[in-house]
Structure formats: C-alpha cells, structure tokens
C-alpha cells in the first residue's frame, strides 16, 4: 500500500513555524522529518513517523505555493487563494526575507550577479548553510536590489513599501543594497573581525549623511598644508594632554592618523577607490590604534577633539563639509573599533 496522493487543505492556511524554518533553512523533506523526529515531537503528540512525513510534505507544498507570492509580498496580502491571518502573513514575509549572518558577510558588497550566484556552492560549503537557503537569501538580496535600485526617495521606505518588511529588516536590506551598489570590499582578511551589524551601522550613517559628489578633495588641505597640519596637531594635543591614557602614542602618530582619515575622504570621490573605504579605515586608523592599545574611550576623545579642533583653524574654509564628513566617519570608526 503506497500513498499516491495525500493532501490537507484548510480554509485558513495552516502554517507550522517550525516546519517553515526547516523549509527556509533548505532542508529536504526527509531531512526535515528526521530533524522533527529528533525534536521529540513524536513522543509529545503520540504521532507516527508516517504522520510526520505526511504533515511535512503538506507544509512544504504549501510553502512552495506561497513562495511565488512571497517574491512580491504585497501580492500575498491581496491574493485570494490562501486565507492567512495578517499576523501570520507578516511572519511569513519577515522569516522569508530574514538572512543568516554568516551568509550575508560572504556576499556583502559583492555584485549581485550570476557570477556571484555561481559562488554560492563555495559559500554553502564554507558556512554550512544549505545551498538552497543560500540561493533564497541571495535571490532575496538581488530582488530587493533590483526593485529599489532606480527608485527615488528613502531607501528604507521604498524597501518597506515594496516588501512589507519590519523596520529592522528593511534597514538591514538598505545596508545590503547600499553595499552592493557601492561594492564596498568587506571580504579581506583584516575585515573578518567585523560583523554585518558593524557594516550595517556604518551604511546607515553614510546613507543618512553623505551625498554623492560632495567635493571632499577640499579637505585634503588639512594634511597637504604642513602649517595647518601642525596647528591642528597642537590644538588636539593641547586639548587632550593629561586626558588621554595613550597621549604619547597619539602625539607620535597624529600625522599618520590624520593623513589616513583625510585621504579616505579624498578617495571617496573616485568610484573605484570607494570600494576600499573599510579596508582603509581599518588599515589607516583602527589597526594603528589597536596596536598601541588605545582604549575605546581614548579613541572617542581623540576623534571628538580631532574633529572639533578644525573649527579653530582659521585658514580652513570647509567647516560644514568637514563636520558632515567627520560626524559620520567618527560614528563608523567608533563602531569599527573593537577586537
């Protein structure tokens, strides 16, 4: 006796959160059943493995049918085929668009193209995330990217409107889109210590405060003009003397650090060099400070003072530009400064 056909259709579509997770994680029906058995569900409910198999198949079929709608979440809300309570719809969408930290770190800043898609095999092997799940996550990134790429207005708002994601998740997607668009390098070994959260934080600051085409080259005078650089250094040192645990190290390194920070600004004007932003920030600032064992509080003191002292440089005319640049950069650096 073999089951040819075995289905269950409810007027309200039954959604089992646990099975949904297994499906999203890309497990086959067989693996999902095995995992469910291991969870002790048979003992709890007195069901048989056959019942579990049938139930899992049913849910997988439902999810498979829902997947098409999940690709355009507003459709899920307006469709008539599946009657799903709004809270469940939200859960379906949110979970579908959720992604794994390990996965997003692998593709963050990469071009969301077929080429990258081919690398998903390796990513899957490396991260232990099933290839199926990797594909879903990658396709989600790409889909969101494609939809909002050409749109005007707030990135987060556009994403929320077209994908009905929670605020948190929409912000994350905005970061992913921003990174993909600017192709920031995030995969270098020295950047491995950074989490997606770190990047997303920076991305949000940059999206909010930075606009393309600002003439950041003007800031270069701060390091190019030797007098200005010396004056800047003395202002900072005067202000921080006795307040900084790593004062001597700071004093010794000031010119290098300042050069690093200002050169980053200059590089932001070249599209090609933009990609190295995080590499530069880590190489030119985070690493030198870390090797001198700056505590985070000293980094904050320094950056505040470094940024504020420019106001006292009479010869410098781009105060507003500097503030906008440093405001964001300071935020980013403080976030990036950890082990």
């Amino acid at each position: 006796m073999t089951s040819e056909l075995d289905i269950f259709v409810g007027n309200t579509t039954l959604i089992d959160e646990d099975v949904y997770r297994l499906w999203l994680d890309g497990y086959s029906v067989t693996d999902a059943v095995a995992l469910r058995v291991r969870s002790g569900i048979l003992e709890q409910t007195g069901a048989t493995a056959a019942v579990l198999q049938s139930d899992t198949m049913d849910h997988y079929r439902t999810f498979h049918m829902l997947e098409r709608l999940l690709h355009a979440p507003p459709k899920l809300l307006h469709q008539l085929i599946f009657q799903i309570p709004p809270s469940r719809q939200a859960l379906l969408i949110e979970r579908y668009y959720a992604f794994d930290e390990a996965f997003v770190r692998e593709v963050l800043g990469k071009k969301l193209s077929k080429g990258t898609k081919k690398d998903l095999d390796d990513i899957s092997t490396k991260t232990g995330i099933t290839l199926k799940s990797c594909r879903r996550q990658f396709d989600n990134f790409k889909r969101v990217f494609k939809v909002v790429e050409e749109m005007r207005g707030s990135l987060v708002d556009n994403i929320q409107q077209h994908f009905l994601l929670s605020d948190r998740l929409a912000r994350d997607y905005a970061a992913i889109v921003f990174f993909a668009n600017n192709r920031f390098e995030t995969g270098k070994k020295k950047l491995q210590y950074l989490s997606f959260g770190d990047f997303a934080f920076c991305a949000e600051l940059m999206i909010q405060n930075w606009t393309l085409g600002a003439d950041l080259k003007e800031l270069k005078v701060l390091v190019a003009d030797k007098d200005l650089l010396d004056l800047h250094k003395s202002l900072v040192c005067t202000a921080l003397r006795g307040k900084l645990g790593v004062f001597s190290e700071m004093e010794a390194n000031f010119k290098n650090l300042s050069r690093g920070l200002v050169n980053v600004a200059a590089k932001l004007t070249h599209n090609k060099d933009v990609r190295d932003l995080f590499v530069d920030l880590v190489e030119k600032f985070v690493e030198p400070c870390r090797s001198d064992h700056w505590p985070l509080s000293d980094v904050r003191f320094f950056l505040n003072q470094y940024s504020a002292s420019v106001h006292s440089l009479d010869g410098f005319r781009h105060q507003a530009l500097w503030d906008r640049y440093m405001g964001t950069l300071r935020g980013c650096l403080l976030r990036l400064y950890h082990d």
Binding site: M1, T2, S3, E4, L5, D6, I7, F8, V9, G10, N11, T12, T13, L14, T45, G46, A47, T48, A50, V51, L52, S54, D55, M57, D58, R61, T62, H64, M65, K75, L77, H78, Q79, L80, I81, F82, Q83, P85, P86, Q89, L164
Partner: protein
C-alpha cells in the same frame, strides 16, 4: 420582460503576463449572459487594468435569470492572431433574485482557467432590477429561497414544513462529444462547467416551482448532486424540504434605524404569508380544507379524503407519548391517524432535515434504507460517431436490494430509444427513466417506514455510485412519527399552546417506539424507558438525524465508523450487476454488525447521523459507515460483548478466548471512562425486566432482516441476557474481533463526531478551521484478499484521522465536527478517501463542570444551540430578579414552557417567572464558574426588533467584516455546520453551488498529483470565499464538498479533477461585537427604542 441585469467591469489585478516580449498584457473583458455579449475596451500594457466600464445591461426573462450564469471572460488582445483567453468567472445571480438576500454582487473574483487555475482577479459589480410579475403560469420561481442547511435556518421560523421536493434533469455530457476525435481540454471543460451551471439553475427553478405550488416559500436541506454517467450522459438531481418560513425578528436587529433607507426593506414577497388563514387558526379552530395542490408529480393528484380532518383534537394528544402509559396506545393511534392524514397527501413523506423545531419529532423508529443496482448498458457505441442524429438504446437491469430473499436478477426488459437531437437539448425521455428509478427506491423507503409504524422519513438522503455502466442507487433516512401541526397549518404559537397542555417534558419521547410492541416488524429487545419509565424503548437506536437538542445524553459522543471491502470479479454488464447484487446484502449486514460491535465497545447505545456509503469499483465494493455514537439516558445500558468459541473443548483455545474477552472488557471500561459515561444505577425492579426476545436484531431495517434469513448464529443463550455475542468460528471472525480493537481513540483533548454538534460538549469558543483532506492509496495487486483489502482500507482511514489530529493539535481542546468521509474507487487499484470536517475549539474548564443533572444539561445545550436563548437567561441573571416581565421572543417562551407545567392560557401572554427563576439560578452558577462578564443590553421588545431589522442587518454587515489592518481581503469563514460558534447569523444571502473542473498536462511540473489537487482545492475554497464576500457575506455555513472526482494518467503527465461544492452564504456577527454595539447604543438617536436593554449590574 421581467428583469434587467446590469454588470460593470471595474478593474483587474495580478493578471498573468501574456506578452513575453513586454512582460505585460493587453486585457479586455467579454460579458455574456444568455446569447448577449458585451465587451470592454482593451486596456493596453498592464497587469492591473482599470477598465471602469459602463453598465452593461441585459434585458431578460426571470426564467433565464434563474437558469443562466453570468459569464465573464478575460482575454488578451492580439492584433495579429486570435485573442488568448486568460480565464473566466461564472457568477450565479440567483441570490439577487430573492428580495431579502443580497442586493448587489460586488467584489474581486478570481479569474479561473481550467488548465492554468486562478490567473489574477477581476472586480465586478452586478445588479438586478426585477419587475414584479404576477403571471400565474410563469415558468420561473424567483423568490423561493434555497438553503443547504438541514435545519430551520437560524434567523427564520418554520410556519409550515410542507415536505419533500425532488427533481432531476439530464443532458449529454460534453466531455464525450468530441469533434473530429479530438478532445480540446479547455473547450470541453468549459462546456461542462457551463452546462452544469445551466442545469443547476434549471433544476433549482423547477424545484422552486414545485415549492410555489405547495405554497411554500423556501427549500431547506437542499441537496443537489451530479451523476457523471460517462457516455450515457449527465444527471443533475436535487432533493429538499419545502417550507414556509418567516423571518424572525432577530435580537441582533435592534440596531438604530437611523441609517440610510436600506434596500433590504423590500422584504415583502418573502414575508408575506402564502396562506393568510394560518394565523387565525388557533388550537380550537378547525383547519381549512387542504386544497393545496402539492407536488405536480404524476401520482400526486389524488386528493386525500381525510384532508379536511379537524385538527382541533390534536392538542390533547399531540406528543401523547409522555402523557400516560396506559393511554399511550390509543393516543398514539390517534396521533398516527392524524399524522397520516397530513402525510398521505404527500407522495413521499420525506424530510431532508436532520434537526427540527422543538416538538416536531415525536418518535423515531430507526434507519430505513434501500439500494438498487441499475445497469446503463449501451448497445451501440456512439462515442466517435458524431454528435447529431445518433440513436442509442438503454437496457435497464433491475435489482432491488430489498428483495434480497430473491436472489435471481429480474430484467424489466424495458428498452428506451431516443434520438439525440443536438448538443444542449434535453432528452425528454431520459428523465422519466431516472425518475422511475428513484421513485421505486422511495416507495421502498416509504414502505419500510410504514413497517416501523412511522409515516414519515426524516434525515432523508439519496446517493449514487457509478462504475462504468453499473450504478448503485441508495436512499436512506430515519423512520419517524411527526407532529402534524407543523405539516399543514398551525404557526409556532399554535404548536406551542398545544404543547403546553401536556404535563410532562418530552425529552425521551423520541426514543419511544412508534410501532406496536405486540406486532413488531422485526424482533427487538424492549425495555421501559429509563427516563419516564412509562413507554417502551428499544435497546439501541440508529438514526440518520442529528441528536435532538432536548435529548438527554450521558457523557460525550464519538465518531464510529464501520469499514469494509469486498473483492468482486471483473465482469461486464449483467454479470457484473448480478455479482454486485449478490454482494450487497452481505456487505450491509457486515457493516451493520461492525457498527453494532463498535458501539457496544464504546459503551454507548445510540447512533446519530448514520451514513452508509457503498462504493462500486471495477473489482471491489467498499462500504463505509460513519455515525456519532452516544449514550442516551432513556435507553438501557448496553450489554458487553461476549465472545464464544465454537469448539469449547480445546484448553488453549479457551484461554485465548478468555484473553480476548478480557481485552474487550478492558476496552469497554476504558471507553466509558474516556467518554465520561456514568449512567445512574437503576435497579431492575424499577425498570421492569426486559421483554424477552429470542434474538438480538438491529434497528437498521434492511431487506434480510425482515425475511427469515440465514443469519442465526446470534444466540443470546450464550451469555448475559443483554450481551452481544460474537462467535469466533473461523479466522475471519478472529480478524473482526482484532480489528475491533485496533481502532485507536483520538489523542487526549480531541473529540470527533459526524453530526452538527458534539453530544456532551456545548461550550464552543470561536476558533474554527474547516478543511478537506484527500488520500489516494495504490493497492499492490499481489495480495488482494478481502482481509488485506480490509486492513488497507482500515489503515487508510485510521491514518488519515491520525494525521488530522496531528495537524490540528494546536487547537486542543477541540472537536472535529461533521466529519464527512467519502470513498471512491477511481481505478482498479486505487482507493480515494476524501474528508471534509471542521475543527472547533472549546473551553475545557467549562466542559469539566458540565452539570450532572439532566435538566441543567438540557438547558445548557438548548442555550448554546439557540443563541436567542443564550442571551436571554444571561440577561436575566444580570438582573438577578426580573423586575418586570419582558415580552420575550417567541422562542424563549417556547423553550421555557416546555420545561414547566403552567397552563397554556397564562403562558401565552406572560412569562412564567418560576421557570425563569429556575433557569436563572442554574445560569448564575454557570456564570460564576465561567467568571465571564455578563452581556448587557440584549433584551429588546419584539416590536422594536422587527422594525429595526433590515437596517440592523446592514450595519452588521459592515461591522462584521472590517477590512484587515493591512490587508484588503476580508476573512470568510467556511463550515459544514449550520452555525458559527460564538456568533449569530443575521442574514442568509443565498445558496452557493459551484462546479469546477481543473486539468493539467504538466502534472510533474505542478508538483505531481498532490501538488495539483492541493492547489485546486485551495483555489476552489478561494472562489467560494470570493463569491460570498462579493455577496456581502462573511461566512459559508452548511458547506459541503459533494463531489471530488480525481483522475490521473501519470504516464501522460496528465490529471483531471472535478469538484462540486455548495453551502449557504451568510452574514454573521460575533457575539462580542453585539455587546459592543449594545453598549454603544445610548449614544445613538434611537436609544428610546432600546432603553430596555440597558440593564444595570
């Protein structure tokens, strides 16, 4: 020209991409009704076109309005080639034809294609302007309401229950009318869908005409079925119960009448009493001559000579059963005589209802059933010859299962020749044949009922099973004695007064035997009723109806199924029919024995909702019986099951037997505990010893049971006086005993039944989940023995139930209600089981304290069954003592009176305080335990209520379906039950009767058979919901999937499925919403009419 149909096409959305190049679609719409077609403009390059068309107007006869569906086709415009069809929407405009239902159909409908499924949605508005037509000879029956619900719909009251109406129409099946030997799937499917829609409309119209002739205004318990007879054609048949209904002034209707003057005011035709005399006829008024011309069917014309019986006598007898033991006989006789006079006028005194107004059902005799095997034998094979001018003949083979004593097959030798005229033309000869078949079966049912001393059959239903050219026709029902008041005249008031003259409650009355105990139609085992101790009752009672609301049960009920397979040799024509005929009696007998054994194993003594389905396949017959077992307090405690061996000498065998016996006894004890069956101990002396009977026989009246049959091994001398003895004389019997013990009870927290309400549970909470589950198994052809088959089938059903329990585990504690199993045998080695049911949650804490005394119990039950009642006592409780008598709605009064002995004169005019006080005290206890907030403001004077009614309904409609916070799709509930727990149905919008075909030629790509059918059923649900929502409703009640015919051909990567569903579209309001409304009331300008509702607590 009595009607104008107006249609507006507003917009489309989510259309499929029809132009690959642009990824867009140039869509336009064709609107077709009858032979008239309109078109919208082409909306270029959009998947969400906004046509916003003008009003397309069709001027049509109301006859066409009833028959024809509105057909909307969405197409993709193509300049260089033929326009591509995207899909269609069929809209049944019938609900717009009766005045108080829907006034407009407006909403998003899924665009459906039989090959691709749902492809986007279209927004349509439909209206009908109906001109009153007083033509007496009209062919239409606009205005007659149809209900699938098999009880009096919740917001109506039955003035008269006229009785049985039936009709069938026949046509060629377009599926078999290929042109040039090529079947074009889409064309064929659409032709079929359209044809069935047309035939359903025609059928409904014809039944409506019969109802009008009977002077009724509604059909309740309407059941329409299709017989796909293959190349022989297509039969659409329907049965129902004609009634005169009166809209109840519902308590929900007290809403302020300050809104826009609603169109729903035009309730005139329906509310109009078709027989103005009825109201004047009190208990002492002689009835008018019964001059109705009832069913127009041939044999009807005879006018009963006793039709002008003076019914003024009835009040004294009425439900005389309970009145006095000694006098019971004569009274019974008199009652029978009167009922007879009422029913004799009817060709078939059948009622498709399964639940009845209080007092309607007097006695229940037992299940009556009849089956007949017919042969559709083609002599010529016209399949590919062509469409026109074919001559075919049918040879009819007759075999009546009720003549089982006679095993020879009789040919009636009738040959019917007819000429095929053209596609779509009715073949006038054929309906007569099918009519005759059914008439024959109905006659048989009628005579069975008579044999049981009953003049009526309730819970009546008909079904067929077709395999190739063999067709089994089945009919079954419950023989009953009815109260004549409802059948002819007498409003509810009249009936009420009549009942008041009785001194005793009649909660056990329906259990009392209607037949003469000295001249019993079959051997039975009688005792005095355990409730009233005066009348005789049988030891077990089988019925096809729902448990009467006033019946006293002990413990809870449970679903009981008997499952059986029998192999049959493949054969052709007569030989096949003969083989089936020979098997049928044995199957019925075994199914019945299984039911009896399982019932006893559960420690119960009655079955309700019994439905036995016999399915015929190429090489086997399947029997599946489902029922809900209960312990009726009025019937004796069932004896155990005694096992007896035939060779009692063998020691080890004895040991084995005693081991089995112990297992059985343990199971019975366990079940009694599980279902909380603790009947009070009653000593033998009080009851009196049972009337001795030589043999234990069933209530199920079948052919064999009447004739002296060969089944004699049941000898009670083996064991205790009332034990059921199973003889184990061969391995088969052993298997049977084993299989008895393999049925696993549902997991804790689950209950199941196939009736409307689960006996013993009455505190439903509002969560419901209706579902359909389908399983098909393939039998390995190697081990096809009867035992293996039985085991496979049993496992299939048990596993299916287990899966359901698992899937719905999050709803615990919950009950699966109206569990409806259907078996079909689509192919040689395939068994298909389809289950539709609803899971309803209930409050466990309340269930635990279900009161032990029967009076309280019945009160509780009555109150949940009848929402009007629920609010009333609660209201009074909040007041603790009613300071002034409210004139309550009639139903309150009625039920109150049935529990007390106050003279009628007083009762009719005022409320009986003492009885209310009693009820209050029990309710107060209940409320305390529930710690539930007391509802306020639900009492209204009847007058207010009536006035405010229509507008109130309108308001509620808006209120009850608020747009979801972030979703535009309103929730539509679906349930096979006639009610929605925790809610009140305020309006019936019309019948939903839909037929869909889905086909695929890319089965694998659509996820195989499971993926295909899963998607299709989901789509069917969606289309039902969309239609209900467009009518302004928010639920379908009495939903049923009547057919799910699935065919596959995996080798060709093809599959096809036909689904037929029906139900009643309604508007419901949550009781919690009612509270909100009532508390808001003082703020409205209508408060003066509602002030009585403001009760201080």
């Amino acid at each position: 020209m009595p009607g104008k149909l107006k249609v507006k096409i507003v917009a489309g959305r989510h259309l499929p991409v029809m132009d690959r190049a642009s990824d867009l679609t140039d869509a336009f719409v064709e609107v077709k009704f009858g032979n008239t077609t309109f078109k919208t403009d082409v909306y270029l390059k959009s998947l969400n076109p906004q046509w916003n068309s003008e009003w397309f107007k069709f001027e049509v006869d109301d006859e066409d309005l009833q028959d024809e569906p509105l057909q909307i086709t969405v197409l993709d415009h193509d300049t260089y080639s033929a326009n591509d069809a995207i899909g269609k929407v069929y809209i049944d405009i019938d609900p717009l034809l009766y005045s108080e239902a829907a006034t407009v159909i407006s909403g998003w409908f899924p665009i459906y294609d039989t090959i691709h499924g749902i492809r986007g949605e279209i927004n349509v508005v439909v209206k009908v302007d109906l001109f009153n037509d007083l033509n007496r000879f009209r062919q239409s029956s606009c205005g007659v309401k149809f209900f699938c619900t098999t009880s009096i719909p919740k917001c109506y009251r039955a003035v008269i229950i006229h009785g049985f109406v039936e009709e069938l129409v026949v046509n060629e099946d377009p599926e078999y009318q290929w042109i040039d030997r090529i079947r074009t799937p889409r064309a064929s499917n659409e032709a079929r869908q359209r044809l069935i829609s047309l035939m359903s409309g025609e059928l409904q119209r014809k039944i409506g005409l019969k109802v009008l002739e009977m002077r009724g205004n509604a059909v309740v318990g309407y059941l329409q079925c299709f017989d796909l007879e293959g190349e022989s054609g297509l039969v659409v048949r329907a049965i129902g119960t004609a009634c005169t209904l009166d809209k109840l002034s519902s308590p929900a209707a007290f809403l302020p009448a300050c809104n826009s003057p609603s169109k729903e005011m035009k309730e005139i035709p329906f509310n109009e009493d078709p027989n103005p005399n009825t109201h004047s006829s009190g208990p002492s008024t002689p009835l008018k001559n019964q001059t109705y011309s009832f069913s127009p069917s041939k044999s009807y014309s005879r006018q009963s000579s006793s039709s002008d019986t003076d019914l003024s006598l009835t009040p004294k007898t009425g439900m005389g059963s309970g009145s006095a033991g000694k006098e019971g006989g004569p009274f019974k006789a008199l009652l029978r005589q009167q009922t007879q006079s009422a029913l004799e006028q009817r060709e078939f005194p059948f009622f498709t209802l399964t639940a009845f107004p209080p007092g309607f059902l007097v006695h229940v005799g037992g299940v009556v059933s009849a089956r007949s095997v017919k042969l559709l034998d083609r002599i010529h094979n016209p399949a590919f010859v062509g469409i026109m001018g074919n001559t075919r003949s049918y040879k009819l083979l007759d075999w009546n299962s009720f003549n089982s004593g006679v095993q020879d097959v009789s040919f009636d030798g009738k040959f019917i020749f007819f000429k095929r005229l053209a596609v779509g033309m009715l073949l006038s000869d054929e309906p007569e044949t099918r009519d005759a078949w059914w008439a024959e079966i109905r006659q048989e049912i009628k005579s069975h009922a008579k044999a049981l001393g009953c003049h009526a059959v309730v819970g009546y239903s008909e079904s067929t099973s077709i395999c190739e050219e063999v067709c089994i026709l089945s009919a079954s029902g419950t023989a009953a004695v009815l109260n004549p008041r409802f059948l002819q005249d007498g409003t509810v008031e009249g009936c009420l007064e009549q009942r008041l003259e009785e001194n005793l409650p009649t909660r056990c009355g329906f259990c009392h035997i209607p037949y003469d105990e000295l001249n019993m139609p079959f051997p039975a085992h009688l005792t005095y009723c355990y409730n009233c101790r005066k009348q005789k009752v049988p030891d077990v009672l089988f019925t096809t109806i729902d448990l009467p609301t006033d019946a006293t049960v002990i413990g809870k009920g449970c679903l009981i199924q008997a499952r059986l397979c029998r192999l049959k040799k493949k054969a052709q024509a007569e030989a096949n029919a003969t083989a089936i005929s020979n098997l049928l009696p044995f199957m019925e007998y075994e199914v019945h024995t299984q039911l009896m054994n399982k019932l006893k194993l559960k420690g119960m003594n009655a079955l309700f909702g019994l439905r036995i389905q016999i399915t015929v396949g190429e090489n086997m017959l399947m029997g599946l019986a489902s029922a809900t077992g209960v312990y009726l307090a009025a019937l004796p405690t069932p004896g155990g099951i005694q096992i007896a061996g035939k060779t009692p000498n063998d020691g080890s065998y004895e040991q084995h037997i005693s081991h089995m016996q112990k297992k059985i006894n343990d199971t019975i004890a366990k079940n009694k505990e599980l279902y909380e069956i603790n009947p009070p101990e009653i000593s033998e002396e009080i009851i009196g010893s049972p009337i001795p009977e030589p043999r234990q026989r069933s209530r199920l009246l079948r052919s064999q049971s009447e004739s002296s049959d060969e089944v004699t091994e049941l000898d009670l001398s083996h064991g205790k006086k009332d034990a059921f003895v199973l003889e184990i004389d061969d391995t088969d019997a052993m298997e049977d005993v084993h299989s008895l013990l393999t049925d696993v009870p549902p997991p804790s927290g689950f209950y199941s039944c196939n009736t409307e309400i689960m006996p013993g549970i009455n505190n439903w909470t509002s969560e419901i989940q209706m579902f359909t589950s389908v399983r098909v198994i393939r039998l390995s052809s190697l081990n096809l023995t009867n035992q293996a088959l039985n085991k496979n089938f049993n496992d299939l059903c048990e596993n299916l139930l287990k899966s359901l329990y698992f899937k719905l585990r999050s709803m615990i504690p919950c009950c699966l209600c109206h569990v409806n199993f259907t078996v079909s045998l689509p192919e040689d080695e395939l068994i298909q089981v389809t289950v539709t049911a609803v899971a309803i949650t209930f409050d466990k804490n309340q269930a635990l304290q279900t009161t032990k005394t029967p009076v309280e119990k019945s009160l509780q039950r009555a109150s949940t069954d009848n929402e009007e009642l629920l609010q009333f006592p609660l209201e009074l409780c909040s007041d603790s003592l009613p300071s002034h008598p409210f004139p309550p709605a009639k139903e309150h009064l009625e039920s109150a009176s049935s529990n007390s002995g106050i003279p009628a004169a007083q009762r009719a005019t005022s409320v009986d305080y003492s009885s209310f006080a009693d009820r209050c005290s029990s309710w107060i206890e209940l409320i305390k335990l529930k710690a539930q907030t007391i509802r306020r403001g639900s009492i209204k004077t009847t007058m207010t209520v009536e006035k405010a009614s229509p507008v109130g309904d309108g308001n509620f409609r808006n209120r009850s379906a608020p747009p979801c916070a972030n979703s535009t799709v309103g929730v539509v509930k679906m349930t096979p039950l006639s009610f929605i727990p925790g809610a009140k149905i305020t309006k019936y919008l019309g019948i939903i009767n839909m037929f869909f075909i889905r086909e695929t030629t890319s089965l694998r790509e659509e996820g195989g058979v499971s993926g295909f059918l899963h998607a299709f059923i989901a789509e069917v649900f969606a289309m039902v919901r969309a239609h209900v929502a467009a009518l302004g409703g928010n639920a379908v009640v009495s939903y049923i999937m009547k057919q799910c015919v699935f065919m596959e051909n995996p080798n060709k990567n093809q599959a096809q499925c036909l689904i037929n569903v029906s139900g009643d579209a309604v508007v419901f309001v949550r009781e919690s919403d009612l509270e909100v409304v009532s508390s808001q009331q003082p703020t409205t300008n209508c408060q003066s009419s509602c002030t009585e509702g403001e009760v201080t607590t």
